[in-house]
Each structure stands twice: as structure tokens, then as C-alpha cells.
């Protein structure tokens, strides 16, 4: 057995490159969440009085080595963060690990890997919502077509940030209720579904604004306001849904 702080030092030393990459990538929201993560891990390690099995530390270091060979920044960062969390925690739990991993600057990667499938899914859901409301929109790729107008789901409309925020919320809910892995998987699925529905709601609302069907002042401020309102609705739906078991 190795004292937690010593195990963390070993893991941090072995994963120095991941930490260096993390420091280089943290800016904006990513910087704030990375600093919060560093503070939480530091606080947990300073207070830790437990020990970590030496075999676990060896496995974490081997994982770090494999991550280093992957030549993929996010994998290296994820390996060292997961390793440090394992050292800082007496009884590691999946939702807290997920929170730690969501705190690293993951948004730029999500923007590339997830944005387009999200846009496509949101466009399908939005077209469905509008058709249910009697608006006969066509759909081509990620564009809505209506009376000769094309309304496109561009990058900021993909809902990646809403998805990230709701995954954080689901992880928090899972951590509070000490969710089992199966229950936690359910929470993540529910969060993803709410994010998709929330984004479709936002896009459908913006459709009425952009096509002039609703007489409201347009412009970027209205775009932002509709986005915030849709996020508020999604969060309002997600909170009771995710905390159902806690209340019970």
C-alpha cells in the first residue's frame, strides 16, 4: 500500500505530459473547470489519510504509458486525471470520475466529433416538431427548407454546450445519489435525450423568429435570449428527471 499523496505524485510524474497538455489547452470555460478540478483534487489529496494498493498505482502508470503512446492529447489528459482521481478517492465512483473528465477542456473536441451528428439529430427533431405544429418544412442535411428559404443549423446551434452542461448535471445527480453504474448510464442517456429535445425546441422557436412568423425584435440578442430560454426549459425538465431517485 502507498499513501495517497505519494501515489498521486507518482501518477502525476508518470503523466507529466498529460498535465502539460492540459495546462496548454485550458482557456475560457476550460480554464475555469480545469482550475476547479485541480482545486478539488488538491483538496482531496491534502485531506487524504488512506492508502492506495501499489498494484493499482502500477496499473494507472501503465495506463498512462499507453495513453502517451496514443499520441492523442485528450486520452493522455484523461488518463492522468483519472489516475489522480483514483489516488485522491477512498472509494472511486463513476459519476465523480465523469465529472472530473468533463472538467478537462473537452469542448473543442466535442465540437468536432459530436457537433455534426447532433446538428443532424436536432434538425430531424426540429423538422418533426414543426410538422406536428402544421408547418410543412423540408429537410436537407442540416438545413430546414420552407417557402424557398433555407435555415441552417450552424456550429453554435449544434447544442454541444447544452449537452455538456446536462452531462455535468447528470454526473452531479449521480454523485449525490451514489448511483450504480447502470443507473448512472441511465442518467447520462436521459441527459443526452433532454439536450437533444432542448436543442430542437430552441431551433423550432428560432424558426418562428427567423422566418418572421412571430413579430418580435430579431437580431443576435433575440437569438441569445431564445437559446437561454430553451436551456432554462431543458434544465427545468432535467433537474426533476435526474433527481427522481433522490427525492424518492
Amino acid at each position: 500500500m502507498i499513501p495517497a499523496y505519494l501515489a498521486a505524485l507518482l501518477v502525476a510524474g508518470g503523466g507529466w505530459h498529460g498535465l502539460w497538455l492540459l495546462a496548454g489547452r485550458a482557456d475560457g470555460v476550460g480554464l475555469a473547470t480545469a482550475l476547479a478540478l485541480a482545486a478539488a483534487l488538491g483538496w482531496a489529496l491534502v485531506r487524504a489519510s488512506h492508502a492506495v494498493p501499489a498494484f493499482h498505482v502500477a496499473l494507472l502508470l501503465v495506463g498512462s504509458a499507453l495513453a502517451g503512446l496514443s499520441n492523442t492529447a485528450l486520452i493522455e489528459i484523461g488518463a492522468v486525471v483519472a489516475g489522480l482521481y483514483r489516488c485522491a478517492s477512498v472509494r472511486p465512483r463513476w459519476p465523480v470520475l465523469a465529472l472530473a473528465l468533463l472538467a478537462v477542456p473537452v469542448l473543442p473536441t466535442l465540437d468536432v466529433l459530436v457537433a455534426w451528428p447532433l446538428r443532424r439529430a436536432s434538425a430531424l427533431a426540429t423538422a418533426g416538431l414543426l410538422r406536428m405544429n402544421g408547418v410543412g418544412v423540408g429537410l436537407e442535411g442540416v438545413a430546414l427548407e420552407w417557402h424557398g428559404q433555407r435555415l441552417l443549423f450552424d456550429g453554435p446551434c449544434s447544442g454541444v454546450r447544452m449537452l455538456w452542461a446536462l452531462l455535468v448535471l447528470a454526473s452531479l445527480a449521480g454523485a449525490v445519489e451514489r448511483a450504480s453504474p447502470l443507473r448512472f448510464a441511465g442518467l447520462l442517456t436521459a441527459a443526452a435525450a433532454v439536450a437533444l429535445a432542448g436543442n430542437a425546441l430552441r431551433a423550432a422557436s428560432l424558426f418562428y423568429v427567423e422566418t418572421g412568423s412571430v413579430a418580435v425584435p430579431g437580431g443576435p440578442a433575440m437569438h441569445e435570449a431564445v437559446g437561454l430560454a430553451a436551456f432554462a426549459v431543458a434544465a427545468a425538465v432535467a433537474v426533476p428527471l435526474l433527481s427522481r431517485k433522490v427525492a424518492a
Binding site: G28, V62, L66, G68, E76, D154, G155, P220
Partner: protein, 164 residues
């Protein structure tokens, strides 16, 4: 166990330092000489070009059409090394705000405003395929390239225009 730990720590710390073979680069195709009817003049690499070229399995060049700068990147496979312009400007300290899509060279391009001190830029991006497909941004291109719906090769076009 101590020896095993020391070996594992050494492996972990040393793995990122192992020499790696550089990603193969596709052959360089001639750069366009005109864009939207305006002649292109080559420029020396700019401040952010090193960032764009980092781990990029392709070719990068900067041009001016007299009105704006164009950063062109040639790539022949799906890669995360084709960084979205948004990431590059964000990491250079610009405040970003989304702009509506615009038509650039006859096709839609994703745009944003980048602002730093007194400098305000309009940046637009699109990825043009040799087969004629045009993707209005890198995320849209990435999935088409991964799934081989669009076989490439591609020319990623970034236009940077001073607006204030």
C-alpha cells in the same frame, strides 16, 4: 513491487518522448491562383500558422487577395489535425462571437467575429472537396471524411477580413 512501480513510472514518463514517425503528407497540389475572381498573392506565414500546422498531415499556405487574407490547407484524410479556426483564434486570446453563415466562393461558409483590443476580424471557413462537395465548417467535413461519403482530397479555406 517497488521495482515494478519504478519501471511503470519510467515507462509512463518516457512514452511521450519516444520518437514518432511523422504523419505522411499527401502530395502538394498547386495552390489556387485566384479566389472569387481576385488574384492571390502568397504571404509569409503568420502568427497563428504554426498552430494550424501542428501535427497537421497536409500543407498550409497564406495568401492575400488584396482585401482579406486566406489561409489554405490541403488535406487528404480525416484528421483532428485540421483544427477549426475558432480554436486557433480562441487560443490566441480573441473574444469570439458567432456570425450568420455567408456565401463564400458560391457556397456557404461558417463565420464568426474575432475581437482583441482594437482589432475586429470576420473569419469564415469552409472545406472544399476535389469532388465538388463544400462543407461549411470542419465538424461537418470531419464526419463526411471519416465515413468516406466524401473521398477528398480537400482544401480548407479560411478567410480573415478586418471589419473595424
Amino acid at each position: 513491487m517497488r521495482a515494478l512501480l519504478a519501471l511503470a513510472a519510467l515507462l509512463a514518463a518516457g512514452a511521450p518522448l519516444l520518437p514518432r514517425s511523422a504523419a505522411p503528407r499527401p502530395p502538394l497540389h498547386p495552390w489556387p491562383t485566384r479566389f472569387e475572381g481576385r488574384p492571390l498573392r502568397p504571404l509569409p506565414p503568420g502568427v497563428g500558422d504554426a498552430m494550424l500546422a501542428r501535427d497537421f498531415p497536409g500543407h498550409v499556405a497564406r495568401f492575400s487577395d488584396g482585401r482579406r487574407q486566406l489561409i489554405l490547407r490541403q488535406v487528404a484524410r480525416a484528421t483532428r489535425g485540421l483544427h477549426p479556426p475558432r480554436d486557433c483564434f480562441g487560443s490566441m486570446g480573441y473574444a469570439l462571437s458567432p456570425l450568420p453563415m455567408r456565401v463564400v466562393a458560391g457556397s456557404l461558409a461558417s463565420c464568426f467575429q474575432a475581437e482583441r483590443k482594437q482589432e475586429r476580424l470576420r473569419v469564415c471557413e469552409q472545406v472544399r472537396s476535389a469532388g465538388g462537395m463544400v462543407h461549411p465548417d470542419v465538424p461537418g467535413w470531419y464526419w463526411h471524411a471519416v465515413t468516406r461519403v466524401d473521398a477528398g482530397p480537400w482544401l480548407a479555406v479560411m478567410t480573415v477580413e478586418r471589419v473595424g
